[in-house]
């Protein structure tokens, strides 16, 4: 009887921790889904937005882990075989969904920001385009260029080395968008519009924006995928102990 009680206490304890971890996963996934850095159009327009789809799944699976683990505590305390079996099966199903979320988030991140090609091509194709996607991409890039003080994906030379929608529309006036020019901090006017057009390095931003975009999307992915993975490892361990407990019940 002592061994079974010991197992029961372990199962109850692990379930309590897993419930808290599941609730935290749900909260972190909500943070990702809200997209505070406003970079969703970059993944949305490319059609590879599974980082955010994974976050939505994680919101529901995190909360489902929370509820099912509380049910598991109840089932363990009641020492009921039937309830423990129901608990194991439901936990396994939620485990499958959360695994899918973690794996697709990690894979999609590799597609999007493994190297700068996709972001660069999207910028050249859609910046200043008048379609809906073009407007979204233009707004996103304008925000990024102003906030992070950068130009182009790898640098301003992206605008020179490749043709682009922007160049077709405005190439005669300037080689790169006005967002690449340094602005005064007081009234937000461009410091040197003629110098910026000519490419004087002191009047424009010379670093690329890809590093910032990559770091934000990676941050989202690690929140959903690595944290989801660690919750799943805890749940795996809990389920193994719960299965052993189930075999010891009369």
């Amino acid at each position: 009887m002592g061994a079974v009680t010991c197992l029961m206490v372990t199962v109850v304890g692990l379930n309590a921790i897993a419930a808290a971890a599941g609730l935290a996963l749900s909260a972190v996934a909500i943070w990702v889904a809200v997209d505070g850095y406003k970079l969703y159009p970059i993944s949305g327009v490319s059609g590879k937005d599974d980082i955010f789809a994974g976050a939505w799944i994680a919101i529901f699976t995190g909360f489902a882990f929370f509820l099912t683990c509380i049910f598991g505590i109840f089932a363990a305390l009641k020492r009921s075989r039937a309830l423990m079996l129901v608990y194991l099966i439901i936990m396994f199903i939620i485990f499958l969904f959360e695994s899918a979320s973690a794996i697709t988030s990690a894979t999609n991140r590799d597609y999007l920001v493994g190297n700068s090609n996709l972001v660069k091509k999207q910028m050249l194709q859609y910046y200043a385009d008048s379609s809906t996607q073009g407007q979204q991409i233009t707004m996103t890039w304008n925000n990024v260029m102003t906030q992070v003080q950068c130009c182009g994906a790898d640098g301003p030379t992206d605008w020179i080395q490749y043709n682009s929608t922007y160049r077709q529309l405005f190439g005669a006036a300037s080689l790169w968008p006005l967002g690449c020019c340094k602005r005064q901090s007081s009234n937000f006017e461009v410091v040197d519009p003629i110098g910026c057009k000519a490419g004087v390095t002191s009047s424009m931003f010379t670093q690329g924006c890809f590093q910032y975009i990559e770091s934000v999307l990676s941050r989202y992915t690690w929140a959903v995928s690595w944290y989801g993975f660690s919750v799943l490892m805890l749940v795996f361990f809990t389920l193994v102990i719960a299965m052993i407990y189930y075999t010891q019940l009369p």
Binding site: I89, F92, F95, S99, A102, N117
Partner: protein, 117 residues
């Protein structure tokens, strides 16, 4: 740009030759007096992927010849956006989670069918 202390306020002829057609072009501008606020001149309307030889001529003085090539413009559609490489994180997560799913499934089946208390 020509030195402002020697050539300030003088008119400069910028001669640029396109290779290999050897088409000559000239542009006139005035050297700014010291102190200079704009230390560059923007030469516009050049063809891409072409080599140009440039030199200044002020009065009887001619500068040495500078040769440079304009960049070639690539089509952005040519940029390859295929999956370059899988990151280590993605491989680890996929492999370990797949193994965990299989172990759990096998475990639940074993426990349900073979351990009846």
């Amino acid at each position: 740009m020509p030195d402002c202390s020697i050539y300030g306020n003088q008119s400069v002829l910028l001669l640029y030759t396109e290779a290999p057609t050897n088409l000559n072009n000239t542009v006139n501008f005035t050297v700014q007096p010291c102190p200079v606020s704009q230390s560059w001149y923007l030469l516009g309307n050049l063809k891409n992927g072409t080599t140009y030889s440039m030199s200044y001529k002020i009065g009887n003085d001619t500068s040495s010849v500078l040769t440079n090539t304009t960049t070639n413009v690539n089509d952005y559609q040519q940029i390859d956006t295929g999956l370059r490489a899988r990151s280590g994180a993605m491989v680890v997560i996929t492999v370990i989670l797949s193994l965990a799913m299989v172990f759990l499934l096998v475990g639940i089946i074993l426990v349900f069918f073979f351990f009846s208390g």
